[in-house]
Symmetry: C2
Subunit: 140 residues, 2 copies
Amino acid sequence: MPKSQNRSNQGSHSRTRSDHATELAEDYVEAIAELCESLGSCRVVDLARHFEVSHVTVNRTVGRLVRDGYVKTEPYRPVELTAKGKRLAQMSSQRHAVVLKFLIALGVSQSVAEIDSEGIEHHVSKETLEAMQKFMDKNI
Amino acid sequence: MPKSQNRSNQGSHSRTRSDHATELAEDYVEAIAELCESLGSCRVVDLARHFEVSHVTVNRTVGRLVRDGYVKTEPYRPVELTAKGKRLAQMSSQRHAVVLKFLIALGVSQSVAEIDSEGIEHHVSKETLEAMQKFMDKNI
DNA sequence: ACACAAGTTTAGCATTGGCTACAATTTCAT
DNA sequence: ATGAAATTGTAGCCAATGCTAAACTTGTGT
Ligand SMILES: [Mn+2]
Ligand SMILES: [Mn+2]
Ligand SMILES: [Mn+2]
Ligand SMILES: [Mn+2]
């Protein structure tokens, strides 16, 4: 028998920890894509306002994203996504949208759904995401 | 007008960060209560096994819980909850149970629901929890 | 042209939460 | 009663993610 080709024999808490390790990357690439779309470019200050953290925190986080290949930067220039970053942004933002619409379909108010979905999205597996989608399809 | 009596005028990302700050405390008090129930007492090694981390990590985390008043310990003795810890455990474990049952009611498999609910529970507001409960009531 | 404002980076700090290696204590078996 | 095993604690390491203060670069307005 194969020696566990995927990582699915980890416990729940290990999975949650690993979700948290990728969470910031997901939120950043999503925000960078949105801000590039809406403002034409994405600056460190824009991200700082978006996440309500200091611009210094953004700077170092962006540094990790560069290290991990999601983002490219030149000194004192706006932040841009790599192809890998765009793929992650696409995936994250679709999943985020499904979770948000699902909560609203469940009867949660728009403002609370927006807040809760920001945390929940990162812990929703493919199977759960499909169940949410199916629920929305069923309920028109 | 009141100067915002609660913290609800924070953005989504701030809320998510604050959820994460209390997450470990919630999981630990929940686990301590469960282990005390099932094993008669809760030792550091039991928690290490439960969370799949080293006993040293458990030790320092328990130290923070003591500092924050959730737990009491004596050297080389099992870990016990304070009244405050029991209240948090009760609250967390109820919320966790609702989220888990909700995912199962949605059609997610038991094993995946157990994993996903471990992360999702900490980001579910009162309003969303009530919506989940209402959904389960409606669907028998 | 050049000063000032806006934006960015660097330096340096703290906390959390992970680890290994080793020391100390308690518990258990003989 | 005593030595080994299990458990707990300490020392010291690391990465991530938050901060302020200060330096540096870029871009704007006159
Ligand atoms: Mn998101
Ligand atoms: Mn998010
Ligand atoms: Mn949990
Ligand atoms: Mn989370």
